[in-house]
Amino acid sequence: MNARSLIDGDAPLPADWPRTLVIAVGNPSRGDDAAGPLFAERLSSWLNDQEHNPDGSRPHDLTILCDQQLMVEHAYDLRDRDRVLFIDAAARQGEPVQWQRVEASASGPAISSHQCTPSQLLHLCTHTLQIPPPDAWLLSLRGEGFELGAPVSAAMQAAMDQAWDAILAWVTTPDVHGQPVNQAAAPHHA
């Protein structure tokens, strides 16, 4: 396969390929499931507002992706990344905002072809694509309603507000690589 291939996972990456990745997941039309897309939008807007460095380079080494579902092909997006943050709504969790480290794992829901977990993605990287897995974290926000056409709930909005500073800290602080995010960069969730 040549370098112009759509499917060559080993094709050279651009020289300015950001080493930090945020993947926000969710359906903007399903109530609190919109948390991921809304964060992606807010983060993109914030990034666009940042002034470039004097040499014209970007101030933050960051790529932001947003998708309705996490699927196997996202493993390619993890190539040559140092850090990745998955942002998603959670149907059931105790805290409104929760950070957890993602470890590679093969297991997960397998009754339909409609989803893939962050852990499975990391496993694909390691065992199939021979891609060194980045340091990966999952930020999950507790949702209350997921009806089609429903607005984001007040509780989710509050959770998003609570999580914003921590997300910025994670994005702008390369030092948190390999550190417990909820302590080093997410004081709201300690």
Partner: protein, 515 residues
């Protein structure tokens, strides 16, 4: 074709086993098996809580927003909804006029890419573990990771075929998700020569992978005889779109229904007459409707859709490799419709090869890089669009008012068409594999295997983390919980005795169990 297990005569005296894959938020499947004191299956139902609110979500919106809006109904097949809605909404722009050749071919290219990537994902990452390792293989191994450990190249091909389809979608619609491309009346973005060439560069490899995947799917099914042939094998009708000459067509055509013997029940039914052909029955124990042929009634008129239906129904496929494979498939079935649920995987890979060949042909067509994208005509106020989505026939029907807002919407998605068939598959498997045996993860997986063959779209859109993927409950007839089997996300099984009342663990939006 009624089944005696659907409704037990004395359900109050039965135990209940609930298999609850709660991996989605609003829409998830649940299997309820009512057992008698001898642990014999007396009643089986597949509950799917989904698709509520689709029509309400669309009504009141301007029609030109609909093709984009409906992509939010499914995170896996957004392009299928985009195209079905575009076809329906064409009527609001061009009436009965035809699309330009370039617009139709771009839509077909988009559709082939969508079906190819979805089918590949299903086969490599969902079905292959069951087929390669058998249903009783250790749960820790019988998954995509097991495939990757044992057959790494196979798993890699699956990812790359999925990626190829997704990349075509991105190039045609401008975005990885929720792009446009297809709009009422045509297509809004031409395909550049450079992007066409980029797609061309890989299609030879994709066809080769499709060839080998098809051979694998066929060989695994044939090697698994007679068990795989018997598994969830039941007679039914089959419905799909065909051209006037009977060739299968994923994008357009008229409706054909064959019976289990391969005989035509109806043929060349104009999709605009679908309400004369199909009626949707409501049952009190599930939100999902049960479509069936109006003339045959609910007991005899239900049917299957999807790859198996498409291959069974086609007079021929218009691409050479896929047509040769179709002929082999039909010959194996002795000329009758192949009714084994697991043959769906073999059929799906014929379908996939057909898509790859179709992509290659379109990329060689000069029209594909044309720039005449929008047609004109006399607008109408009602439109119906039907396509063959990866899982089967998908129907969108809209009416708009003088203000161009949608007043009426009706969607029949593939999973709804297959509702009775999936229930039948569960009942068939439960009757054969569960009677009188202890409930184990391996046995329960037989039911999952049957469901996986149809890959139901369980709610289609909401993604959220943190739900238990599988829960099995045994509930006595008096409502007391007798046993609980949890299947955690890491595959580990746990059998705790729950202390809360069953009602406390049942989502509020579920229909009553005893309805």
């Amino acid at each position: 074709m009624p089944h005696p297990l659907e409704t037990a005569t004395d359900p109050a005296s039965l135990n209940r086993v609930v298999i609850e894959p709660v991996s989605r938020v609003e829409g998830h499947g649940k299997v309820t098996l009512l057992l008698d004191d001898d642990r014999k299956v007396r009643q089986a139902r597949l509950h799917i809580v989904e698709f509520r609110g689709f029509e309400r979500f669309i009504q009141g919106r301007p029609y030109w927003e609909v093709p984009t809006l409906v992509q939010r109904l499914c995170g896996i097949c957004p392009v299928s909804h985009l195209l079905a809605a575009s076809k329906a909404c064409d009527a609001f722009v061009i009436g009965h006029a035809s699309l330009t050749p370039t617009a139709e071919k771009l839509r077909r290219l988009l559709h082939f890419a969508q079906v190819l990537q979805s089918n590949a994902l299903h086969f490599f990452h969902l079905a292959s573990p069951d087929l390669l390792f058998g249903f009783d293989d250790a749960v820790a191994h019988r998954n995509i990771v097991g495939v990757l450990q044992d057959e790494r190249e196979l798993g890699l091909q699956g990812i790359r075929m999925r990626k190829y389809g997704q990349e075509i979608i991105r190039l045609l619609t401008g975005k990885r998700v929720h792009g446009t491309g297809s709009v009422p009346g045509g297509f809004n973005k031409p395909l550049s020569m450079a992007d066409r060439d980029l797609m061309r560069a890989d299609i030879g490899q994709i066809i080769a992978w499709c060839d080998s995947a098809l051979a694998l799917a066929r060989d695994l099914f044939l090697r698994g005889q007679p068990e795989q042939g018997r598994f969830a094998n039941f007679p039914s009708g089959f419905m799909s779109l065909v051209r006037p000459d009977g060739a299968a067509d994923l994008y357009d055509g008229a409706l054909r229904v064959k019976d289990a013997q391969g005989q035509l029940i109806v043929d060349q039914v104009d999709v605009h007459d679908y309400q004369q052909l199909i009626v949707e029955e409501v049952k009190p124990w599930t939100y999902m409707k049960f479509p069936h042929l109006r003339t045959l009634g609910p007991e005899h008129g239900w049917y299957r859709v999807g790859p198996l239906a498409r291959i069974n129904n086609a007079t021929y496929l218009d691409t050479p490799r896929a047509e040769a494979a179709r002929a082999e498939f039909i010959a194996w079935g002795g000329g009758q419709s192949v009714t084994a649920s697991l043959a769906q995987h073999w059929a799906r890979m014929i379908d996939t090869l057909h898509c790859a060949e179709g992509i290659a042909r379109l990329l060689d067509d000069p029209d594909i890089i044309g720039t005449d994208l929008m047609a004109t005509g006399t607008p109408l106020r009602e439109g119906i669009g039907v396509i063959e989505a990866p899982r089967g026939t998908l129907l969108h029907h809209y009416r708009i008012g003088d203000d161009d807002l949608v007043e009426y919407a009706n969607l029949i998605v593939s999973t709804t068409h297959n509702n009775t068939a999936m229930n039948e598959a569960v009942r068939s498997v439960a009757a054969e594999y569960f009677d009188g045996r202890e409930i184990t993860e391996g046995l329960l997986n037989h039911i999952e295997v049957a469901i996986r063959a149809y890959d139901p779209c369980l709610s289609c859109a909401t993604h959220a983390v943190g739900k238990m993927p599988l829960r099995i409950e045994v509930v006595e007839a008096d409502g007391q919980l007798a046993d609980v089997l949890l299947k955690h996300e890491d595959g580990a099984l746990e059998r705790p005795m729950a202390h809360a009342a069953p009602a406390d663990r049942t989502p509020a939006n579920w229909p009553p169990l005893d309805a």
